[in-house]
Symmetry: C2
Subunit: 120 residues, 2 copies
DNA sequence: TCATTATCTCAATGTCTGTTGAGATGTTGA
DNA sequence: TCAACATCTCAACAGACATTGAGATAATGA
């Protein structure tokens, strides 16, 4: 992840519809979701609007797509998301791990295999 | 961290100068850096430009400021950064921790007390 | 108080971005 | 091949954003 990629990723995430799409796909898991399904989840956004935002996200490297029959299935690009987090926090704390440990804790708890209710 | 805050944070991070400022301050640690110092680190950006971006970042909650004599010292708002990471990755992986563990690893390694060379 | 330094505020300008609607492309089943 | 469906592409418009330069505010030391 270099600065240009990070900038593209943050630009993509700075728009309400796109941020919702990414979070929707993050929660959807690796199997992803069809463009139409995503559009319905976004308050029934128009197809051209979805296409615009999905291709924006794909160009930014935050989602990936594959065709399945008539549908195009989008899913979160987890490695890119990890890379983005790492880029933003790189060289954090300078030997004071307590300042960024909350971020680690937040992510770790998310990634524990679900036992009951998960997130806070 | 709610959606509006996250959106403001990502908007703030989607601009080259502001992203550099945040990363500069993340690396600078909790003691922070004066506005003028930051401006010099940003290829000598003009004071009005720095002021614009720093107040943008402060409004977005990503940095905090304090006056020290004539200078205003800015520092990274580490809890906000942690919250942002948590918000983006919330509900990730749905029982498949392997998909977002790389993000945890990236952050964890950053946060280990420095022994030699730190980041990857 | 005055000069100096550090930073912020404001208005003007050019550029970028999101939305919309119409139409094109690709896929499926008959 | 045809009709139906899913998605993408394109041009146009309104609104938001970054930069600039001039001037205002705040703190310091003499």
């Amino acid at each position: 992840m270099d600065e240009k990629q990070a900038l593209d990723a943050f630009t993509a995430l700075s728009q309400e519809t796109r941020l919702r799409i990414v979070r929707f796909l993050v929660a959807a898991g690796p199997q992803g979701s069809a463009a139409g399904e995503i559009g319905q989840a976004m308050d029934g956004a128009s197809s051209s609007r979805m296409s615009f935002h999905l291709s924006h996200l794909e160009q930014a490297g935050l989602v990936i797509s594959r065709r399945e029959g008539r549908s195009i299935i989008y899913s979160a690009a987890y490695p890119a998301l990890s890379g983005l987090v790492e880029f933003l926090m790189r060289d954090c704390c300078q030997g004071h791990p307590e300042v960024c440990n909350p971020a680690v804790a937040a992510l770790s708890s998310c990634c524990e295999p679900a036992k009951g209710a998960s997130h806070a």
